[in-house]
Amino acid sequence: MTVHNIRHGDASDGAEAVGGRLSRVDGPAKITGAAKYAVEQQLEGLAYAVLVESTIASGKVRAIDTNAAEAAPGVLQVLTPDTIISLRTAADWFGTPPPDKPYCPLARDISFSGQHVAAVVAETFEQAVAAAALVKVSYDETPSIVDLSDAKAGDGIPIDAMTKEWGDAQGAFASAPVRICAAYNTPREYQAPMEPHGLIARWEGDQLTVWEPSQWLDGMARTYAEWFGVPFENVRLVSPYIGGGFGSKALALSHGAVAACAAKMLGRPVRLVMTRPQTFTGYGGRAATRQTVTIGADRQGKIQSIVHRGVNETSMDGMWVEPLGSVTSIMYATPNFSSRQNVVRVNSVMPGAMRAPGENPSAFGIESAIDELAYEVGIDPLEIRLRNYAEQDPHAKKAWSTRQLREAFATGAERFGWARRTSEPRSMRDGNQLIGWGVAAGTYPVRRAYGEAIVRILADGSVEVESSSIDMGQGTYTILAQTAAETVGVRADDVVVKLGDSRFPRAGVTGGSRLAGVMTGAVYKAATSALDQLVGLAISDPRSPFHALQANTLVVANGRIGSPRGDGPDVSIAELLKSVGRDHIEATGDTMPANSTPEDRYKNYTTIAMALPHTEGDYSRHSWCAHFIEVRVDEDFGTVRVSRVVSALDSGRLYNPKLAESQWKGGIIMGIGQALLEEGIVDRRHGRIVNNNLADYLVPTNADIPDIEVISVGIPDLHSSVLGGKGVGELAIVGVAPAIANAVFHATGKRVRDLPITLEKLI
């Protein structure tokens, strides 16, 4: 057994060690245009595919006339449900065995507007676009249910798994001296990553390579393998950089199947990229939601009961559940609680994951309602949150692993100047601008899984890390370089991190804010094992300059090996490896339980079935935050501008605060969009998304965003991850919309319970 000390990486400012503010190591490639995103690979013989989509929301395709398209210049192939090769149905992301029936990625039966019905493949992109416009589709249309407000939508299907109840919530509410009850709605929202979805597919024999932006290489590779009936190992997913995902790029989707079919049928690599409008129906955004929150309290604002009912929309043929009681059930202490949820089928693409699915709309309900309660009983909105502070998880009845929410409230309030707030609505103004200050809390569970990585120490003393995990801007390249650098004892500059290739050691989904915690743990283990080997060789190999030293420990720092006492030789890693005749050292590390079978491992990396519950064991694990937001509302025009944000956040230990702060601010900014701008507008005649582009689906621009101050109040949480971090990426959006709605109420006296808060709701 080798014992060694690990000194922290070198740089005098500490930036290179875990927890340091190292700049993005993938930054230079991104700012010079050198970073090649998935569909930017230049391949010989590339053909271009363009999708044709349904223009009705419900019915059947009667006929597809492809004659004109097939005769158009450059056209290689027109795919329809009749001509595309048949695939097998793949398992879902839980790995549930699929029905034994064929899967066709082009639809005959239409259940939403924008469904893929045909595709044209041509020699050039321009030829494919022109020919796709010549495909004529006729339909037998049937009545559709356009959205939740459609009279035909009904009450939906109860989802018993979402029911959370304790005490006698209805009885306690009925007898409570103070009662509030209100309905809160959120519209369809879209991830809208700047890089549209798309891929290049290439077959070589029965080997498929897919270059595709992906939040989950191994899960998507499994899906492609199952569709085409080839072994998992035959599919290679490559995704070196991802131009934003926000939940939308975790699954292999029908457009990917179309491109892979086209490539197989043509015997050529095929590129298919969705147009921006297609990205609004080619996959699901956040489901529209409806919630009713009722709170019974005493006159001091102490909650006695919460009764919560939620509804989200799903598609006709898929089941998406947006867990609306997730924050409602844990944010505040209450002796009586009831939450239930239905889902309603509408003619829409199946909704999907968008930054903090569940927690985000859930927090809009409860964090608005608690503000309403504060005004009802005449207590400061910050004080009422402290008065109902949950000292343990009220639902799981377990201790929090860490919950720095009280610290977040205190720190945020201090920095924001909350004490200067006058409580009366419309009591603060600047000329014709009404000023409002609002507060809301947010939370996101710590989702955990297992990961795997290889760490190599190379002949030149540099270190290489490989993992099939990905970096879509969260900073994976950087924090894994920091982890390997600190653990082995080299400079971060001397670490090369390779990600985004399913041939590398496996990783589960990059979603649920779990990647950093999972992969720093795996790299730490692999790097520790590589260091053990290095020091072991140095001590025991007869050719090593340290052999005569009879040391039982050596120190590796800044890429050099020496005795901890400073006596004896001091050599570089490269010199040591040369002296012992090794060209590299390699170690694989994973965080799987020791007795895991190969089947367990496959299941862990290609499904989400092995994710560990956040309430596993003795603790309930969550990230926490408090947002303090100032709005200015034009009294005459009702325009709302966010003018100041201070957020205090508990994500546990930060592996790189510079990058975590960026992600937090990004979440807050997406939350500002959700609160004030973002809404998918449905055409009630045809069930289409009317504003399916970036000029009409409004996302925040630079001019919409003020300075934002984020403050870390986290402490290391070793119940949550190997190195003490909790989730970062999704946390910060949670609570922003209610903080803004609460600020708007404070400014105007108007309570807007329908997002987004647009001017017609205020005048």
């Binding site: 993005r24 700012i31 245009g33 700047m194 131009g243 934003g244 960026s662 900014i669 997406m670």
Partner: protein
């Protein structure tokens, strides 16, 4: 559609292409010349990811036909660094962490260089307004403002 010869001057290099007249400058750069640093986010002039300079002014490459750029000087993100030395705006973007996924970044940087050159980087308010045509869904805006402010000061001094 008949192809026509198109002569393009990009980052100081001359290219002769045979293109259909309907080919955009963006697709010519990305698909014909392998200059993929210029990004396609919407193809409709809504997002700014494809911003390049034509004769020194910022232009949306997706709304410009390649043939329109003939006889003009085109600069893309790949041509911004000089002799391996990063442009002050690039350096400031890295230092300020003014990007996450990096997909809007080349367009942001090309806009920022022009924004400073136009004299529209005098205050944070002005930077926000004149950088508002470049969307960033990761939400790097406050850091983009900081980077443009920093680079503007460096360029001025």
């Amino acid at each position: 559609m008949t192809k026509i010869p198109v002569y393009l001057d990009i980052n100081g290099h001359h290219h002769e292409l045979q293109l259909e007249p309907r080919v955009t400058l963006l697709d010519a750069l990305r698909d014909r010349l392998g200059l993929t640093g210029t990004k396609k986010g919407c193809d409709h002039g809504q997002c700014g990811a494809c911003t390049v300079h034509v004769d020194g002014e910022r232009v949306l490459a997706c709304l410009t036909l390649a043939a329109q750029a003939q006889g003009r000087t085109v600069t893309t993100i790949e041509g911004l660094a000089r002799e391996g030395e990063m442009h002050p705006v690039q350096a400031a973007f890295l230092e300020q962490d003014a990007f996450q996924c990096g997909y809007c970044t080349p367009g942001q940087i090309m806009s920022a260089v022009a924004c400073i050159r136009e004299g529209h980087a005098g205050s944070d308010e002005e930077i926000r307004e004149y950088m508002a045509g470049n969307l960033c869904r990761c939400g790097a805006y406050p850091h983009i403002v900081a980077a443009v402010r920093q680079a503007a000061q460096e360029v001025a001094s």
